[in-house]
Symmetry: C2
């Protein structure tokens, strides 16, 4: 299990390679929800998302022999760019398996960081098979996007910074998809502030993390097309176990509230966020009264939205 010590180690390891991202506030948003809300801007992180923390930690922890054979993952999202960035830091090969229908702009972003792309069919089976072939042929080391203790510890580092930057938080809310972000943040925050409330925010139509924690049984991801596309994944066994141990609650938000919150953040804080980053504020907007007078920390997970193709 990942502990606060593992997370502190990870922070020492990665801190010169990732940003200590700023915390922003808005008096207009504070008025809307009758609370003091602090936004940790991981959309301003390297590669535009918190994912670079976990990927850098995982890559820097490899021994030299393993590292020399390179790393591999399957992803067309932020983790792909994050791993490409991390491998570039260490100067080792990186291969990203992507479905052949992945947007050209996402392929280009990964290539810009110096990684190779291997295209596959747009099915999970084809992704896994393609990745397996690469591992067998090249000896490349797989770095999963969330269900991995090194990745989880890396994501947790943002909570160390956040609790130093923001005054006396009563609550932290972070979005939950695969759970790497939320379980890392929860592990760190629970250790440093035993009485803090830790909430995961999830789309109502993809509430598998909520059901997993309520039933105590890991649920498969909901098969829906929420606009919070980063949150369509389900928990892994490792992230699930950490969420259970840290005592995390889950609240859900409607698609309309997610859309409204995403715009609200862009309008009021003047930062670009993806809809997955809007879910935490959406939960606040849909539960008025619950936050009165409290200090609430929100993690803005990323800013990878196609700004030329708005509206969402």
């Amino acid at each position: 299990m990942v502990t606060i010590e593992t997370i502190r180690d990870a922070h020492e390891r990665i801190r010169t390679h990732v940003h200590n991202t700023p915390v922003l506030t808005s008096s207009a948003i504070n008025q809307m929800v009758d609370a003091r809300v602090y936004f940790k801007c991981e959309n301003l992180q390297k590669v535009g998302a918190f994912k670079s923390r976990g990927a850098v930690n995982a890559v820097l922890r490899l021994d030299d022999t393993t590292a020399a054979r390179g790393v591999v993952t399957h992803s067309s999202g932020n983790h792909a760019q994050a791993l490409a960035y991390a491998a570039g830091l260490r100067g080792i090969p990186c291969t990203i398996v992507m479905p052949h229908n992945a947007p050209a702009v996402k392929q280009a972003a990964v290539r810009d960081y110096g990684a190779s792309i291997v295209l596959c069919e747009p099915t999970l089976a084809s992704r896994l098979e393609t990745m397996h072939d690469i591992v067998v042929k090249t000896g490349a080391h797989p770095v999963p996007p969330y269900n991995d203790e090194r990745v989880l510890a890396g994501q947790g580092t943002l909570a160390l910074e956040f609790l130093e930057q923001a005054d006396d938080l009563d609550v932290i809310i972070a979005p939950v998809g695969g759970g790497g972000l939320l379980s890392g943040v929860a592990t760190a925050a629970r250790a440093l502030r035993p009485h803090i409330e830790i909430l995961g925010a999830e789309p109502q139509i993809a509430a598998d993390a909520q059901l997993s924690l309520q039933t105590g049984i890991l649920q498969p991801p909901a098969d829906t097309m929420t606009i919070a596309d980063g949150l369509r994944t389900g928990l892994g066994d490792i992230t699930f176990a950490h969420l259970q141990r840290a005592g995390v609650g889950i609240m859900t938000a409607s698609e309309d509230a997610i859309r409204e919150a995403t715009y609200c953040i862009m309008e009021r804080l003047k930062v670009v966020v993806e809809p997955s980053a809007g879910v935490s504020l959406a939960v606040m907007l849909e539960n008025p009264g619950r936050w009165s007078g409290r200090n609430v920390g929100i993690v803005l997970c990323g800013g990878n939205i196609d700004i030329r193709r708005l509206p969402i």
Copy 2:
């Protein structure tokens, strides 16, 4: 004339009421222009624009008797919100004269800061007449948007921060409309770094500042509808004199380049900017080769764009 001492005084006066805004960088943008580019994010400033610096300085410099009668300006842009914010800090009345066709959202923003609005006809004559009536009736003190030494000194404070935050800048580029921002920044930067290059960035189709500096004669604003709507104003005599004294060059950018640069900043830096903030990067993009190996500081003036009505 405003000097570096005036600007330092202004900084002491306003620093607890405005943000020391972050400086962001992007390796992708650095590659594009073959330079190290530092972006001073005044879009993350109070009211979403640098304007709060000048307005706060002007309001805090009033003696108590004058202040008690309140302040007034005519503006439907960022200066209106900035003055309303500043007056709120001091707890004095604030009246904003706005054309009756000003967008409801801009009227609401000003009211949210506690100011009163007086609507007028959408002509300069009506604005001035309406403002004059208010001054006569209430004794309110007018705070102009840029052609004012207190305002100019306030805007200059951002350069004090910028030169501490960014490594050894060779060039600073700021957009120029009325010239309050550029002349304040130029006055501070010239005093602190005698050999720094200071450039104003202006739309090609509204290049009145360039013509003013070339001819030595203050030119009226070009009557055009550049997408950089914050830059449609012309210089004032005070800002013009400061620009001449500081030795400022002006470069222009096409509308296409402004649009592209605005998107590029939102995509790469993940912050929301108005087109007026895109003009400086547009100038860089349209003049490749000129910046090779240099450290360039760009002022992102504001983020007041209607994100729900993209594309621009």
